[in-house]
Amino acid sequence: MKSQLIKTRNNFSAKVCSLGLAILFCSNALGQGKDDFRRSELNDFRTRNALRENNSLENAGFAKSDLGLQRPVEVKETGFGYHLGFDTKLYYSNNAASAPSGIGKEPSGIWENSLNNHFILGAFDLGGASFSPILSLGYSKFTHFGDEIIESFDFDTLSISPNAFFQFSNGWTFRAGLGVMLDFAPKEGMEKTYQQISPTLALGKGFAIGAAQSSWEWSLAHHFTDSIHPDEDIMNRFETAFLWSFSIPINRLQISPYIRFAYINYSNQDRYDALASLGLDFRYSFTHWLALNAFFNFSFRGSNNDDYDFTRFDGGGGLGLSAKF
């Protein structure tokens, strides 16, 4: 009886170890999950769009006159602005490690807490285009729960992203930026597990469809990486992505579907991937600073190496606090 119990325990330990190794292998060593589409990218995209939509000239909703309606406003000298946001989300993922089918594909609950800062360092009229330097600073904490091993997958992300953002009168936008992202393992003494520096160029366009706002952005980026894998720069890659997002306001509710396609070519591997993400966000604003949100996201990757294929579904909701200064 005792030996059977020991055997069972040993089997369980072996299973846990192999699962843990598989997940760690997938998530850290090979970097799966690191090269997924992250929601912080979508949030930054939406913040920049908010700058564009804030001055929409369509549907002013007022009667016309020869001179036009003159509403007094107060404006800042240079346009320096600060947007602060805190989001807490609780969601389910059927594949928290973005692993291919098999032992690494484990479901998990994820609690994500994000603090986002966007510094708009002025707005400048270039005579036909406007220019805004924007510095985004974010810190996110991902806490996994469910399986014992999955819990070891917790990580924190620090992102710093300076961008030069140009808006043209016909709705086109151009962005040149540098994205810096660092991942840490909080359960390993905040050991840095991954680092990514990404010079990025992006072209976009925004337009209105009735009351809805739509915008897309096509970006080109090269990610210079450093991970805990023996080949530190194995995740270096070129990525071109197309992100298309809608924002449909219905009173206090905002429905925002989005779709993103990316082609990724790894510099230090014989590997190229196609990554797609489809999502739907709901945001219900109680006040200017408090909103309830729910989201669903489905991602899948196809690679020339089948080991990297995955499908993943995330869904959940949370609360968002925001302030503008």
Partner: protein
Amino acid sequence: MALFRHLLLTIFCSTLVANQKSDVEVQVTHIVGDSFVSASRNEGEKPIPLVLGDKFKRTSPFAILVAKGSYAEMTLQTEAILRIGQQSVIEFRNPNHLRIFNGSALLLLSKQQSLNLETNGTKIQLTGRGTFMFESPKGKNLKIIMLEGKALLSSAKAKQSLQAGELVLVQAGNPDSGQTINVDLPLLLATSRLINNFSAPLPSQSKLISAAKVQAIRLKKRYEALIGNTNDQNQLRLWALRKEERQLKE
């Protein structure tokens, strides 16, 4: 037409004291409704209707009259574009001197230029480049709104710079330029007939939009009011926005 006859008589009287003559070249580039050119010195001459494509050289002073529900756009020899709103009478004293008897207009100065603007009681020099609108509903106070570019306003006693989005009211009989108020440029651009009622956009359209975008990013606060014309005490009227109008906009 009674208003026009009265205004023509006023123009005639006022031009008797105008002593500077020069040729002004005008090309009519857009017409909606009825607009006329009138050489006000010659009492016998009837106002001549403006026709799209007309290109003429007139000796100043002469006036452009735009009837109710009508609009006119013309290019001047200085490469400036002038759009005149309905029920307006604007007299050319010379290519760089306009007297506003009534109504509103938009002027695009594509290069640095000095321009004298005058009403009954105001006289101001505007030096700069850009697009601006002006209005004088009763031919007395003069309201100027800079849409894009920069200008320097000089009156007998004061000088002040004017930037995109700034409105200044020059009061009749007051030699000071007047207080500057920032106005919501995206709303103004979306609701102005002098911008939107013409078949072709202004050559400065992209600059107008970028000025509006910059202002929107710099925006600190929108007041729940709209600026109207002046009252009998020469004060700007402000109209409070109703709640439903606010909701429409916000």
